[in-house]
């Protein structure tokens, strides 16, 4: 029996020692007691008071998701570059599609100068659609985005459409004949991509048949199994299947072609559909921290974003270059939320009244 090291969900100092170097507990203590002590020792760090010195990255979802990966990869590079005081721990606080974590940053942790919260275009979309209750854009301070993915549309290898134009032509002619899958709920990111494309193709967006799945993987499986004809998602989700020749990407929803193995895939804009979908990944911090702290976060993310170490880590996480920090990022987020709100309204996903 080793006493293990870190507590649950709080990967604490990863510094050097693997768990096996811990001396076993003294055996003089009754063994059952020792067992419970081990259990307690393992459990306690989990509820460590939130006063510890190091920086903490709050991932608004469970381990394994995009937000969790944002926290862990950025935290690792910050530590490697010596930009952070020691290790950056990742805490998972799932709930309400990120709403619980945001609420935490606005209430209990509002003054915390060591707290960073992972965010993405999913956060701004939900804010725009008022899915976080009363929380709004300026309840937190937006620090920066350090990478992005672009939306894609994929079909199976033997689908009859050679390109996006052909697909959209047939779709517009008979909207009921094609069903699309995606990893987000109705009105979520994957659905929005399709709604925007439909609108750009002159269709009534609400005629699109969209079936939501639990995450991009399941949605892609439905395409592979032939249950749907179109998949809306992100490039990294289909990479392996595209390489194997089972799926084809019809278009990327990026401002220009993506370098690398997707360079041969045209953008939607090239095909005549003015649609872009940037799934950026970045951070906000509590709004009530002093300006000096906010500026420090901006500077830190800025140096991270420009570093070679991050460039490597970013590629490893399937992200494209996308660096926006400080005021530029705040303006970007504000514009995006306005934009999403207007879109959601015009698509009938939000009631039309103002505010």
């Amino acid at each position: 029996m080793w006493s293990g090291r870190p507590g649950p969900t709080l990967p604490r100092p990863t510094t050097s020692r693997p768990p096996l170097t811990r001396p076993p507990l003294p055996l003089r203590v009754g063994r059952p007691v020792a067992l419970l002590a081990i259990a307690a020792a393992l459990a306690l760090p989990g509820c460590a008071p939130e006063t510890s010195r190091g920086w903490e990255c709050l991932a608004p979802a469970n381990p394994g998701g995009g937000w969790d990966r944002t926290c862990r990869s950025v935290g690792r590079v910050l530590e490697d570059l010596g930009l952070s005081p020691g290790t950056v721990r990742t805490t998972n606080l799932p709930g309400a599609g990120g709403g619980v974590a945001m609420a935490r940053a606005v209430t209990r942790r509002a003054q915390d100068p060591s707290l960073l919260v992972a965010a993405s275009s999913g956060t701004t979309l939900r804010l725009a659609q008022r899915q976080y209750g009363r929380l709004d854009t300026d309840d937190v301070r937006w620090i920066g985005a350090v990478g992005a993915e672009y939306g894609i549309l994929a079909v199976s290898r033997d689908a009859p459409w050679p390109d996006l134009s052909a697909l959209m032509r047939e779709w517009a002619a008979d909207p009921g004949s094609i069903v699309a899958s995606g990893g987000s709920a109705v009105a979520g990111q994957d659905h929005m991509k399709l709604l925007l494309l439909a609108r750009a193709a002159g269709m009534d967006p609400l005629q699109i048949r969209y079936v939501p799945f639990e995450g991009g993987g399941e949605a892609m499986t439905a395409l592979l199994g032939g249950f749907v004809q179109v998949f809306s998602g992100e490039a990294s989700e289909v990479e392996g299947q595209v390489e194997a020749g089972n799926l084809r990407i019809l278009a990327v929803l990026a401002p220009e072609r993506i370098a690398g193995d997707l360079a041969g895939v045209p953008t939607a804009r090239e095909m005549g559909f003015d649609v872009e979908w940037v799934t950026w990944r970045g951070f906000f911090v509590p709004a009530a921290v002093p300006d000096s702290v906010g500026d420090r976060w901006v500077a830190v993310l800025d140096s991270l974003g420009r570093s070679e170490a991050w460039a490597q880590e970013r590629v490893r996480n399937g992200m494209r270059p996308f660096l926006r920090t400080g005021e530029e990022f705040e303006a970007f987020v504000a514009a995006q939320v306005d934009d999403f709100r207007a879109m959601s309204r015009s698509l009938g996903l939000l009631p039309p009244e103002g505010g």
């Binding site: 990863t14 067992l35 799932p94 619980v100 048949r209 639990e214 299947q241």
Partner: protein
């Protein structure tokens, strides 16, 4: 398959290197100790140790090998707290708790723990063979499972719930209804509209099954113990031998084999997972082999079935991960993240392009399995001594463990309130003779059924015929109907056959 065997041999050569062997052992030990904490299952254990492994810069194979060890270890650790303390940390352990804890109360905790280790080993071993030999074939089978097939599978699972009914069918139905009610709290899975959230952000994600499980089982257990026990008495007077007899092993032999096959087949389906697997295995075994009606009141086969199925399902879940790049469970989602961080893209080409990785993983999973058996069988005698603790230590200990676990995983004070409320509800249900397991299973199965039903209808444009439009779906409907109709028939048959001894099916 000489080529596959050769490659597997290569895999073993990788996995048996001293460093990798040490890692798998460390992983199994750490996993077991972490897994004993309810709720800190494989997902968190792996997420926790990943940065550590990155920090020491292990090669990809070694990293996967370490994770395989943790994976197995934490699953077994979870069974320990389930069987001894009735504190199941995952939904699939809820099934183990039924007979496992009944055995503990009957003073046979030792055999129960040993059976759990052996059954996990058998399930793991058989399913690794399945993984090695059938991975490409099975990924095709997973693809043919569309929403309509999942609906039929879930209905089948709901029918199987009747085997957990205990003495009173109406009470079991009430418990199932309560579970479904809990399951409907939160965002509507399709349109993201809040249901029964009462404006609380914390309720938007619904009731976490960990909170429900610990509340209904652990907290209510604490309340019951606190109520009935005189101070100073220990939790169980006896725990039996820490070994299994040959008779016990042979009796459970076929149970383990059948459950492994079933668990593996269900585990291959992304999203269905260990809960459905262990639960279907339990109810199937009860129907097939429970001729004395001992399931539910402390039958070793009731421990063997879910434990074998759960482990087999865990390995089955590797197939969609490795061949489709689709994580079939929370743990495989974490594994996927790790693979991507290692520059490995899971997908149909993985086995071809990175054979050393695939076969190394298969071999290390096997070694993890062996390591667990070798480590834990001798330790059973140690683990059961937890029961020797006087209640004045054990009762607050279990309570503290439950509350810290929930807080550690969800970081939410609100969940502690729900935990308490559900604890009181669970205590009241025990008093009223309502079974608790159906609540958790309905909580897990309900959303799966709802989502897939709505998906099927969205795909078909509202035509209910889609639900029985494929051979797989029809087969599952027939199985569900049979599960509903056969037990009464079999019982009648058995009564009429009983006088003539020795004509039953071979029960080794």
């Amino acid at each position: 398959m000489p080529e596959a065997l050769q490659l597997l041999g290569g895999g073993f050569a990788v996995a048996l290197q001293p460093l990798n062997l040490a890692l798998v052992l460390v992983g199994a030990v750490v996993g077991t100790s972490v897994g004993m904490l309810p709720g800190i299952g494989p997902i968190n254990a792996i997420a926790l140790l990943l940065p550590l492994a990155f920090a020491v810069d292990l090669p990809p194979e070694s990293m996967l090998i370490l994770m395989a060890g943790i994976y197995y270890g934490s699953q077994y650790g979870n069974s320990i707290s389930t069987i001894l303390l009735n504190v199941p940390g995952t939904a699939s352990a809820v099934v183990t708790a039924i007979d496992g804890h009944a055995l503990t109360r009957a003073g046979r905790a030792g055999p129960a723990l040993a059976m759990s280790a052996v059954a996990s080993f058998v399930g793991g071993t058989l399913s690794i063979f399945g993984l090695v030999l059938l991975a490409p074939v099975l990924s095709a089978w997973a693809l043919r499972f569309g929403p309509a097939e999942y609906v039929a599978l879930m209905v089948f699972a709901f029918v199987a719930l009747s085997s957990l009914a205990g003495r009173s069918i109406p009470k079991a139905l009430a418990a199932t209804g309560f579970g479904l009610l809990l399951a409907s709290v939160g965002l509507d899975p399709q349109s993201a509209v809040p249901r029964f959230a009462f404006g609380q952000l914390e309720l938007l994600d619904g009731i976490d099954f960990l909170v429900a499980t610990l509340g209904l089982f652990a907290v209510s257990e604490v309340l019951t113990l606190a109520e009935e026990s005189p101070v100073g008495q220990s939790a169980a007077a006896a725990w039996g031998r820490a070994r299994l007899t040959a008779a016990e092993l042979t009796e459970s032999g076929w149970t383990m084999v059948r459950s492994s096959v079933l668990g593996f087949a269900v585990g291959v389906l992304p999203g269905a997972g260990g809960t459905v697997a262990s639960f279907l295995a339990y109810s199937t075994e009860q129907r097939i082999s429970d001729d004395q009606g001992t399931f539910g009141s402390g039958d070793l086969r009731g421990v063997a079935a879910p434990e074998a199925a759960n482990n087999a399902a865990a390995n089955g879940a590797m197939i969609p991960l490795l061949t489709l790049g689709v994580p079939g469970s929370g743990t495989t989602a974490v594994l996927l993240g790790a693979l991507l961080a290692l520059n490995v893209t899971p997908g149909p080409l993985l086995i071809e392009q990175r054979p050393e990785l695939f076969w190394g993983l298969a071999a290390s999973m096997y070694i993890g399995n062996v390591a667990l058996l070798v480590l834990n069988l001798p330790l059973v005698g140690l683990f059961v001594r937890v029961l020797a603790l006087p209640r004045w230590i054990l009762v607050p200990g279990v309570a503290a463990l439950s509350y810290t676990s929930v807080y550690a995983v969800t970081n939410s004070g609100f969940d502690l309130v729900i935990l308490t409320v559900l604890g009181v509800v669970g205590w009241a249900m025990r008093k009223g003779g309502f079974p608790l397991a159906p609540v958790i299973l309905a909580l897990v199965l309900g959303p799966l059924l709802e989502r897939n039903l709505r998906r099927s209808l969205a795909l078909s444009g509202g035509d209910w015929g889609v639900l029985a439009s494929s051979p797989i779906a029809v087969g599952l409907w027939v199985a569900a109907a049979a599960a509903l109709a056969l037990p009464p028939l079999a019982a009648r048959l058995r009564r009429s056959v009983a006088p003539r001894a020795g004509s039953g099916p071979p029960s080794p």
